[in-house]
């Protein structure tokens, strides 16, 4: 029976472990200098090392915003009757992919796009707001493509909590706010941690929208652009591998930090099991 996992193991070895280890090895074989030359170069060049903060400046607020907004929306949606329809609509941006969404946003958020036209016609602004080719263009696109994902995850974690628990808290005198704080939120923490981690990893590896909607030479020069430039414009695969390793390292550190923080708060089960 254990042989049945063999295809999956081979798959992972061939498509994940081997490229990863090869990349790691490559990153220590720079075009010139010692073994750590690529890493030294990265942290010496502000054009390179500032990509880390620029990416974090996008990924962290977007992730937090998506998760924080997902919770109240999911709380409301779980009581709705046409939940299936809504979730289907929300899945669409995920399936379309970031490139198509970015293309759409280019016209939608542009100076003559719907958003600015409506705001101008309503007299809320005097001149068109600049929403493209800067930080906010990328931010908005990450929210639009990331929100359905965080929302659907949050919704599924929330509906996994036995509704009788909330009823029990209500009968025991807890008003809605307290039921959320003392019962739902603690039980959601494990799921929210996973949601935060996955959403963060997704946002941290932003690439197409940072180029199409952002300012790829300035404010939204994210770390994946740096890796791309190194690999395909400078043909320095070794440096590109080093940047990819740094990307992975940062993601792992953040995810581990999230999981550690969860462990401090709560680690029990989400449903009351029978003894």
């Amino acid at each position: 029976m254990t042989l049945l996992v063999l295809p999956a193991v081979l798959f992972i070895l061939a498509l994940f472990v081997y490229p990863f280890l090869y990349g790691l090895w490559l990153s220590f074989r720079p075009n010139g200098g010692g073994g750590l030359a690529n890493y030294a170069k990265f942290f010496a060049d502000p054009f390179l090392y500032t990509t880390i903060t620029k990416t974090l400046m996008l990924a962290v607020p977007v992730t937090v915003l998506n998760v924080v907004v997902s919770i109240p929306v999911a709380l409301r949606v779980r009581l709705m009757r046409h939940q299936r329809l809504l979730t289907t609509i929300l899945v669409v941006p995920i399936t379309l992919g970031t490139v198509l969404v970015s293309e759409g946003l280019l016209t939608y958020l542009g100076p003559r796009g719907w958003v600015n036209r409506v705001l101008l016609d309503l007299g809320l602004i005097g001149t068109p707001v600049r929403l493209l080719h800067n930080y906010w263009g990328v931010f908005l696109s990450l929210v639009i493509t990331g929100f359905p994902f965080t929302f659907l995850l949050t919704l599924s974690y929330l509906t996994g909590i036995d509704p009788a628990l909330e009823n029990a808290a209500a009968v025991l005198g807890a008003p809605a706010r307290e039921r959320f704080k003392r019962v739902l939120l603690p039980l959601l923490i494990p799921g929210l941690t996973i949601t935060l981690a996955l959403s963060f990893v997704q946002a941290f590896s932003v690439f197409p929208s940072a180029i199409l909607l952002g300012e790829p030479a300035g404010a939204t020069r994210v770390i994946s652009i740096a890796a791309y430039t190194a690999a395909f414009e400078q043909y320095d695969y070794s440096l590109a591998s080093a940047i990819a390793m740094l990307m992975a390292g940062i993601q792992v550190i953040i995810v581990l930090a999230l999981l550690a923080a969860r462990g401090l708060i709560y680690s029990g089960p989400a449903a009351s099991g029978k003894g």
Binding site: L172, G173, L187, A271, G275
Partner: protein, 354 residues
Amino acid sequence: MAIASRDFRALRLDHISRCFGTLNALKDVTLSVERGEFIALLGPSGCGKSTALNCIAGLLDLSGGAIWLDEQRIDNLGPERRGFGMVFQNYALFPHMTVRRNIAFGLVTQHRPKAEISRRVDEALTLVRLTAQAEKLPGQISGGQQQRVAIARAIVVEPPLVLMDEPLSNLDAKLRLEMRAEIRRIHNSLGCASIYVTHDQEEALSLADRIVVMREGEMRHVGCPEELYARPAHADVAEFMGYRNLVRSRVEAAGNTLTVSIAGARLSGTPMEAVNGDALVAIRPEDLTPAGDAPIAATVDAAEYRGREFYGFARTADGTELYFRSERRVTAGDAIRLGAPPERVLIYAAGDAP
């Protein structure tokens, strides 16, 4: 803050009803529950008993009618403002809190002083005999213990009314008997009123001061256990209360007792409602026994020994099936004569056949 005080006199359900779409789950139920009373809502699944309980708790809104606690109307209050205690079928213990914190939940909600919470939780733990498990999580204790935590959590706030929704249905037979006695003991020591939902007639008979039999959203009979057992108001209630022999018949002669015919034999019985002509005769298997001069001739189809006595199944010449009890051994194929005392033969109008 809970509005209800412990010294209430009565909870009144005033023509309450509840619809789910086109389904009338609860139809025009009127009932008064006095302080100290133990009421069982009894009925088959889908009869509206849990709906009634959830309406009283405030977890479901009423479609019509009103609920009163003495002079205060409470059906417009949310569940958190009624101050009742409730024990759920699956216990609904908070899995992330210890037994102690689960029980303390309602007191913390009321912002009681720490010392008082700790004292009252200790008392509740003693009452349900769980002091040793106080620091465990619900997942680490047995089903019976979880059930007692659920009871302790509901009663520690000293509610005027404790609502229980089939609290014993997830337990095994032995534990169920123990917990039944425990629930009655706790009820007696608290002096609150309890409303207990069950589909198990034995549970209702042994626990309750008064039983409300429900069927299809309606109250069919309200009475004390003895009355319900001996004199059910309707044929469908009789069937639910263990009158396994329900035989269609005709009234032959009226008088102090009615005489009906079963399989050609004449049998005297007690009318439970106005009956003319077509009737439905209800007899418990334990009241129908063989005797040499008994009126109904039948042949034994099957019999089983239940220790001390036999329970059997017989058929008359015209095919009527009868369940009976016998102190002597009977075996399949035996010809017997069956009869029952007139006060144990209940006669209903055939109109409300279940």
